[in-house]
């Protein structure tokens, strides 16, 4: 598979931008909470730190922590589930190409001390964008390894400061049937809603992604900003987010509303909990050929199993 990005151009630019962003952060941000939010913890894997004059790779790494190769850019951007555009995997690429993703803002509200609306520029400049290589396991039994660009969701939560009533985070995709023809279908209870428990949302592996392969997200991949929860089935990773609300009750996601016996709130990748339609015990890794065993929590068990201690995961599926 070819990687359509020339290896020489992306990284220096991304590196340059990430440094600029960092400087701009340090210079322009006055709110102490914002500073704390964006600079307090060191990023997991920052964009390449190798010498810039050598021809650097487009990515700092081409494998996940298990040695799985990243899926080709072409496959990632051509094969998507985006029901706001089409139920077909290939069609969103064409149907979403004119989606207006700029200007864009994400409203964060609900049980928070500082409700506010973040513009996409603000989001890109205020939060250090890191490269995170995550496995993505679709509930349909296929998977990819995707080099995201994004930042931990907790950074934004730290700024808005959830109050004690906040127990869950509810996410909402843009509702605009004129731009998203699939939303004209009465078969789904639009808009797309997803949710996380607050402690799940604060986990370091829960990120908001703004790009992949060192580039901004394409519309079909959820531009300009989407959630990525690598230990849960792909449908939890809601796309084109316009609203994040801190709530006290467990949100009902679109898929839960549509088919509660098939899709639970947690939707953790779990090879031991069968789905009536697709196998969850094994999966097809896109572009690789050959079925592989599905791992508990999609291989992030060590990091996230603690969130579910004492819970029966076959009931809380």
């Amino acid at each position: 598979m070819n990687n359509p990005i020339s290896e020489s151009e992306i990284t220096p630019e991304a590196l340059y931008l990430s440094r600029r962003r960092f400087m701009r952060n340090a210079l322009s941000l006055s709110a102490a909470s914002l500073l704390a939010g964006s600079c307090s913890s060191t990023p997991k894997s920052v964009l390449p730190t190798a010498t810039v004059d050598a021809t650097p790779p487009a990515l700092s790494k081409f494998q996940d922590e298990f040695g799985n190769s990243v899926t080709s850019y072409e496959n990632i951007i051509s094969y998507t589930n985006y029901y706001e555009f089409s139920g077909d995997k290939s069609r969103p690429t064409e149907l979403a190409k004119d989606l207006i993703t700029y200007p864009w803002s994400v409203q964060v509200d609900g049980y928070v001390n500082n409700p506010q609306s973040f513009s996409i520029d603000q989001i890109r400049s205020s939060f250090e964008q890191e490269e995170r290589i995550f496995r993505m396991r679709c509930v349909e039994g296929w998977s990819m390894v995707i080099p995201w660009i994004g930042f931990p969701l907790s950074r934004i939560l730290d700024i808005v400061e959830p109050t004690s009533e906040a127990k869950y985070v509810r996410f909402e995709t843009m509702l605009d049937p004129e731009q998203m023809p699939g939303q004209k279908s009465g078969a789904f209870p639009w808009p797309y809603i997803e949710g996380l428990r607050l402690d799940e949302a604060r986990h370091d592996l829960a990120i908001l992604a703004t790009g992949l392969y060192g580039k901004n997200l394409t519309p079909q991949n959820g531009a300009p900003i989407r959630l990525v929860i690598p230990w849960k089935y792909g449908f939890k990773s809601i796309k084109s987010i316009v609203k994040i609300s801190l709530v006290s009750e467990m949100p009902v996601s679109l898929w839960m509303a549509l088919s509660p016996n098939e899709y639970g709130f947690y939707a953790n990748v779990n090879p031991n909990v069968p789905h009536p339609r697709w196998t969850q015990a094994s999966e097809q890794r896109i572009g690789q050929g050959g079925r592989i065993d599905t791992l508990m929590f999609n291989g992030y068990e060590d990091a996230v199993a603690g969130l579910y201690e004492g819970m029966d995961l076959s009931i809380n599926f």
Binding site: E74, N75, S78, Y79, Y83, G87, K89, S90, E140, W142, S185, A187, F188, L258, P274, P276, R277, T279, A281, S282, Q284, I286, G287, G290, R291
Partner: protein, 213 residues
């Protein structure tokens, strides 16, 4: 065994989805997940052909087009061909002959059991389509082939359970199938527009023409 012109045309049309699939696969154009795409395409084609085969008898009865009984056989056989392909992709390419995985899938998923039952029931219907056997069976053949109504219902149910999200298409197929079955029951089976136009006669003689050995 003489083959009618209608049968040749039907067979060529029936091969198009298979040809397109192979062509797209060869050009690396069968999506990033060719196994899933091929499974869906063969499944959809099998259902389409099965429903079309159910339309033949009413077309014959209503419009007097006897040529459609020969076409019906071709449609039925190709429906079986695509259903078998659909199953083989599942066994060979998707689950790689791994019996541990395959038996688990069949055990855990009612929609697969239903689809498998439909496929198995199509086997005797396909085998008895050989003219020599068909002739030997006489009236028994007709009785046996009434099984296809049950198979169609199984297939629609399989399609419904296998569909994610928007189920309007399987519902539409269920409606069409029930309509086609209804046309076989009194008083609808007495509908007849044969006399109204001679165009049907010329269509029928065109499709019935047997120039090929």
């Amino acid at each position: 065994m003489k083959i009618s012109r209608g049968q040749v045309i039907t067979a060529i049309l029936c091969l198009i989805p298979f040809g397109l699939m192979v062509f797209n696969y060869a050009r690396n154009n069968l999506t990033a997940n060719p196994i899933q795409a091929a499974t869906l395409q063969t499944g959809h084609t099998a259902i389409n052909l099965l429903v079309l085969s159910l339309a033949c008898t009413p077309i014959r009865n209503i419009f007097g087009l006897n040529s459609f009984l020969l076409i019906r056989k071709v449609l039925g056989l190709f429906a079986f061909f695509y259903a078998a392909l659909h199953f083989l992709i599942f066994i060979v390419f998707d689950f790689e002959f791994n019996l541990f995985w395959i038996l688990d899938e069949i055990r855990l998923k009612p929609f697969i059991q239903i689809g498998l039952a439909a496929l198995i029931l199509l086997i005797p219907l396909s085998v008895t389509s050989i003219p020599r056997i068909q002739r030997k069976m006489g009236r028994t053949w007709e009785t046996l082939h009434k099984l296809v109504y049950f198979v169609a219902l199984l297939v629609i149910f399989h399609y419904l359970l296998a569909t994610k999200g928007d189920i309007s298409r399987p519902i539409l197929y269920a409606g069409i199938t029930l309509f086609l079955l209804l046309l076989r029951i009194f008083p609808f089976n007495k509908l007849n527009f044969t006399q109204k136009s001679s165009i049907f006669l010329s269509i029928d003689s065109f499709l019935s023409h047997k120039g090929l050995k």
